[in-house]
Amino acid sequence: MTTTAPILALKGITKRFPGVLANDRIDLALRPGEVHVLLGENGAGKSTIVAMLSGLIQPDSGRIEIEGRPVTIRSPRHALSLGIGTVFQHSMLVPSLTVAENLLLGAPWWRRPARREMAARLGEIAAGLGMAVRPEMRAGDLSLGEQQQAEILRALVRGGRVLILDESTSMLTPDGIAELGALMRRMAGQGLAILFITHKLGEAVSFGDRISVLKLGRKVGEIPPERIRGEETVGEVLEMMFGARTAGAADTAPPAPPRPGRRLVVEGLSLPARDGAPALEGISFDVAPGEILGIAGIDGNGQRELAEALAGQRRAGGRVLVDGRDLSAQGVGGRRRAGLRYLTDDRLGEGTVGAFPVSLNLVLKEVGAPPFWRAGLERRAVIDAHARDRVRAFDVRTPGVATPVGRLSGGNIQKVILARELVPGARVVVFSKPTYGLDLANARATHQRIRDLAAQGIAVVLISTDLEELLALSHRIAVMSGGRIAGIVANDAEARARIGRLMVGVAA
């Protein structure tokens, strides 16, 4: 395989933010016909590269070359005109516009928006990809997965010669991932240069032609096409990223068996439909101490509502009991005190207050409680000490505990939430997509934490759209569909097939 000349090249790119060196003399080349995978831990600086290539920010030093000529990418518009299309890590849709209208943004301002034509084109492209996006839906009413699909479609509709996908598979189903992978291959075949960012090494080796690895802002290695070879490559990448050929405990360890008893009992939970979210109807299940109950299902089938109803964020019908104690009348605080913890998947909007320092976000659910507050007065030293402690324990990459949490990379925000919720005293923990956006080492560490929790006798409800994750961790798996539990299956050899059937509405 001969290497073609790059369309786009980064030469010695450096970018600093207050307290962080996000990119340190990075060299990177995107070639036509190649899928270039960018790997790296959370906060390694991947999205920073994306931001520079899409014109959102400019490098402090170094240069970007297009077809060998140095360019300054002044703005997103400029990037688009250079043929660089981007799907960003965080949603870039206008919630109050429909999907079609969102995709129309950018046409000359005096034009009449061609809504119908766009809808038709969208239908075509989506169908070819096995995606089901309704062009007339308001973007804000879509699930995160659907939003991600819409954004991928936007990049495709626009066309161009460079396509950047920043963790675009994180919300897709296994089938969706496979289809996106196939699409990337087809497009590369047509001469497009693709930059693909993911945390899943499997995706990297199966879709990628070339792999670059970042660590702490520096590029620590590149694997050219001729050296990409399945498992072997994975090991090589792990070594580059973590300095070891394995990252934490292997994910295959079977969970310890649960203990007898019913720690969490849910009886007839129900909730009316709201804002495009489905109603919950008659949800009942129970979880034993030490048991991990997985909740599978396509995003938007009531998982979020179930989690919020369990946590007490929404008043629901039915009963929730922990160790036999009825918590139905309790709010969030009462349930938390009773040992019920909920880790939301909405990190920035709900899980944290972006403008507040890491330190305060770590005690966000303890406001007013000792030892952080005494007689209602804040004890900064205690809060900060606690924060430094948690930051160390969970390896949160942050310039300091006073840094606003919103400035951290997505994965590190997730670690802040984990660090906050997994404090002593938990009896039941509800996880919602706990490893979404986490790098491999952190994902594995989180999985290990979940197992450890179970081993301590804590009941775990694990909501995830990642079937592999569920199969690796759960004792039993419930499948949600349309706001109901379609069925609960034991995690055995048959599980994968039965879950698939339940998801599409066929009895297992």
Binding site: G19, Q313, V332, T344, T352, G354, V367, G368
Partner: protein, 363 residues
């Protein structure tokens, strides 16, 4: 203008901290002085365009607003209601609530105090008159904020519109009540009965400065400490910075929202009451000082920091007291003070931006 925070946040010990604090103070002083001088220069050019001597004008402003003892006393007295309003706005804005109904709340507070004060005078002891009247002022304003509070807390109705509407209604209601219900029968002018001078809030020491100033200062500092150092204040700030995070963290969003409205309005009402009990003694129909329009930008310039707000309120009071005097002596229409204040506001905002950018660069 944020020296306090930087000074206490420095965390260093010993001489280094002292030196840093001194440097910080110096910087803040410069930060405030340079733009103000620039604003004065701009306004001065305007004066020259109108054929007036800017140096003479500023000489009068400073002499009256700052240097002459009685002028300074007036400046300090005028600060009282502004400080209380600033305190009320800081609570609301930090909690993400746009209470723009300040003027109506202020008027109803003033009316409650003006209606009850003179009526109670002689019935109960003087200190009790003042306490009850001030309390009623705060309560009246609080009551006026209940509807916007409930609408916002339980229906999600945007409070900008509701508070503005309630403000217009409150102003009209206060007027109607002065004319129809609380009118002093002894005078042809529609105004309430007057609280005698010696029964008003005591003056400070031997001056004419009303002790309302102390109430205002205490309120601003208390609010600042509450918002930055207490659990309750933090809850309010969480509501302001991330309402969804607040729900997730189990905070009682509706109740906290109502509490914010109540507290903010109470302070605005107290401002009205203190102004009546400390200075005016009564209120007239059709009176509306419209303090909201100056205090709102001042509070934002202060970045919702109580200590900085005190500084800005002082500056504003000085300009308005000194400006009135200077305008008279120089034969410039009094509205020139408005222009001066406007230029100062805008130039300070620009300077603040430049400062932040410079700081970001250095970091």
């Amino acid at each position: 203008m944020n020296t306090d925070a930087r000074a206490d946040g420095a965390g260093a010990t010993g001489q280094g901290a002292v030196a840093a604090a001194a440097l910080g103070a110096l910087r803040a002083g410069l930060m405030a002085a340079v733009p103000i001088l620039l604003a004065l220069l701009l306004a001065g050019l305007l004066l020259m365009a109108f054929g007036k001597d800017p140096l003479a004008y500023y000489g009068y402003v400073v002499r009256r607003g700052l240097l002459s003892p009685s002028g300074l006393e007036q400046t300090l007295t005028r600060m009282a209601p502004l400080l209380l309003i600033a305190a009320g706005l800081i609570v609301a804005f930090r909690a993400g609530i746009w209470n723009l109904g300040i003027d109506g709340q202020f008027m109803l507070g003033a009316l409650a105090a003006a209606a009850s004060g003179p009526a109670l005078s002689g019935v109960i002891p003087g200190w009790a008159v003042l306490t009850v009247a001030a309390g009623l002022g705060a309560l009246a304003a609080m009551a006026w904020s209940v509807l916007p509070a409930l609408l916002r807390a339980f229906q999600g109705v945007n409070e900008i519109i509701t508070t503005l509407m309630m403000s217009f209604l409150g102003l009209s209601l206060a007027n109607a009540l002065v004319k129809l219900v609380f009118r002093d029968p002894a005078t042809t002018v529609p105004q309430t009965r007057t609280l005698p001078v010696d029964e008003r809030l005591p003056r400070l020491f031997e001056t004419t400065v009303s002790s309302g100033l102390v109430i205002g200062l205490v309120a601003v500092v208390a609010v600042h400490l509450m918002m930055t150092r207490t659990a309750f204040g933090l809850r309010l700030r969480i509501v302001g910075a991330g309402p969804r995070a607040a729900v997730h963290a189990g905070l009682d969003l509706p109740w906290l929202t109502v509490a914010v409205f109540a507290l903010s309005a109470a302070l605005a009402g107290l401002a009205g009451a203190v102004d009546v009990l400390g200075v005016y003694g009564n209120i007239r129909a059709d009176w509306n000082p419209g303090f909201g329009l100056v205090v709102i930008p001042v509070v934002f310039l202060a970045r919702l920091n109580g200590f900085a707000a005190i500084g800005f309120v002082f500056l504003f009071s000085m300009l308005s007291i000194g400006g009135e005097s200077a305008a008279r002596r120089l034969g410039v229409p009094t509205v020139f003070t408005l222009v001066l204040v406007a230029i100062v506001l805008i130039v300070l905002a620009v300077a603040e931006w430049l400062d932040q950018r410079a700081r970001a660069r250095r970091a």
